[in-house]
């Protein structure tokens, strides 16, 4: 009996994989979980105050991809983040994609907006070459990052280069009024799960890759929509944003490595409106207004000696300059510029150790009036899986 069992076992051991392999056919539908984890240590010092040193981020962002056929794809990403001892769950995106033909793909759901390139393509911790976001992105950013609605996108070869485009219609932005938050009156909030007015925001981007080697891309984006609540005094307040982006990435033998340049300029214009403030001693709120225009800009350059040998080919150096200017006369008036430099060590194509130093000079900003110099040092890691 034992010999039979042993023979059976041996048989299975030798031939089992073959038997199973014959039965194994990849299914037409495929489900895949990918994503990334990220965390780090921040040291920040404002002027001569005591520095603030803390571990941050502890982010775990699983991404789900479900390929139903060669044309239909579902993508979703959640973001679990540890903040102030609590787990915050973010819902980055969830959308259906259907490839209509060679040149057009339709999407519906919540998606990252191709408004400029930073938020859609470059912000994940394993892609972003620095530990921080450029000024003007993230919390209080001047650019929208995601939206709920529908989109058509695609690309086509033109001459020896190619173009790509996107056109979307989403729940538009919300204008912050004095009643909502006096400190932020006039700001736009882009997280708008239920539309506050019947008007949808319309936006799009056109990208041009003029060279046959795809190394250069120039993009123009726009985003327009009404921002005030229907029926309120702000009902006709419109937001109109645009962005310009540039990208150059190429492995160049003369410098034995990859040169990567990314830049984006973003401008936001909101129609004039009256906001209200209560000065100390006043009994009735006083109205005020300002030219509601903000802009932000960043340019980043990185270099990795990818053609060198050994340890050095995984090292990358990066520098980034960014600025942010918010409206003069607003409670959140601010003028800031930031310079960041960093060294990265790539453990794999999507796992990295990042070390950086940055200095931010700002005047104004939330609850601030004077000028501030903030110096920061960051040691972060990101791991894509």
């Amino acid at each position: 009996m034992r010999t039979i069992a042993a023979a059976g076992l041996l048989f299975l051991l030798f031939f089992g994989p073959d038997i199973f392999a014959q039965d194994f056919k990849p299914s037409k539908t495929q489900f895949m979980i990918r994503g990334y984890g990220h965390s780090g240590l921040n040291y920040e010092k404002v002027n001569d105050e005591d520095p603030d040193v803390s571990y941050v981020g502890a982010t775990f962002a699983p991404m789900f991809l479900f390929k139903h056929s060669d044309r239909l794809l579902f993508e979703a990403e959640l973001e679990f983040e540890l903040e102030d001892g609590e787990v915050k769950v973010g819902f980055e995106y969830a959308n259906f994609n259907y490839v209509l033909n060679k040149y057009i793909t339709a999407r519906a759901g919540k998606f990252l907006l191709p408004f400029g390139t930073f938020m859609e393509r470059l912000h994940p911790a394993w892609i972003n070459r620095l530990s921080t976001l450029p000024l003007g992105f993230g919390h209080d950013g001047v650019a929208p990052s995601s939206g709920i609605g529908v989109e058509l996108r695609g690309s086509a070869p033109i001459g020896s280069g190619k173009i790509n485009y996107s056109l979307y219609m989403i729940n538009g932005p919300v204008l912050v009024t004095s009643a909502m938050d006096p400190e932020e009156a006039g700001m736009l909030r882009f997280e708008n799960f239920e539309d506050n007015n019947g008007n949808k925001a319309v936006g799009g981007r056109l990208g041009v890759l003029p060279l046959s080697n795809s190394s250069v891309e120039l993009g123009v984006s726009f985003y327009n929509g009404l921002a005030g609540n229907t029926g309120s005094q702000y009902e006709n307040v419109a937001a109109s944003l645009y962005a310009l982006d540039f990208s150059y990435v190429k492995q160049i033998s003369a410098i034995k490595g990859i040169l990567d340049i990314k830049a984006q300029y973003t401008q936001s214009n909101v129609s004039d409106a009256n906001y209200y403030e209560m000065a100390p001693g006043d009994t009735i709120p006083v109205s005020y207004t300002f030219a509601n225009t903000s802009n932000a800009y960043f340019a980043q350059l990185s270099y990795r000696p990818s053609m060198a040998s050994g340890f050095i080919k995984n090292v990358e150096i990066v520098g980034r300059y960014s600025t942010l200017a918010t409206p003069e006369g607003a409670e959140w008036e601010q003028e800031a510029s930031q310079f960041a430099i960093g060294v990265n060590y790539w453990l794999s194509w999507r796992s990295v150790l990042k070390f950086s130093y940055q200095i931010t000079e700002s005047v104004g900003g939330h609850g601030n009036t004077g000028a501030n110099t903030t110096k920061g040092m960051f040691a972060h890691w990101a791991l894509g899986f």
Partner: protein, 89 residues
């Protein structure tokens, strides 16, 4: 603010030089290029380049469709790239 001008200036000059340099590189439409070449040129634009061996055939199909949409690659490019990935992984 002077610092801004200097840095912007340096970046502008670099961009210009590189663009001019790239313009002289050979021109060939995607239809004349191999999957390997298209992979090398396109998959480094946003993140580091993944190697074919990083995923199996089934995964490459899914990733191919995902990147075709997210990265706005043309149908021809992605078909050739996925084919290449599946051949050499």
């Amino acid at each position: 603010m002077n610092k801004i001008k200097i840095i912007s200036g340096i970046i502008a000059v670099m961009i210009l030089t590189i663009t001019l340099y790239s313009c002289t590189a050979q021109r060939a439409a995607a239809s004349k290029k191999s999957g390997a070449q298209l992979w090398g040129e396109n998959c480094i634009r946003c993140h580091n380049i993944p190697s074919p061996g990083d995923y199996n055939d089934v995964d490459w199909e899914t990733i191919g469709l995902h990147m075709r949409i997210r990265a706005n690659l043309t149908e021809e490019e992605i078909v050739k790239i996925v084919e290449f990935m599946k051949t050499v992984n």
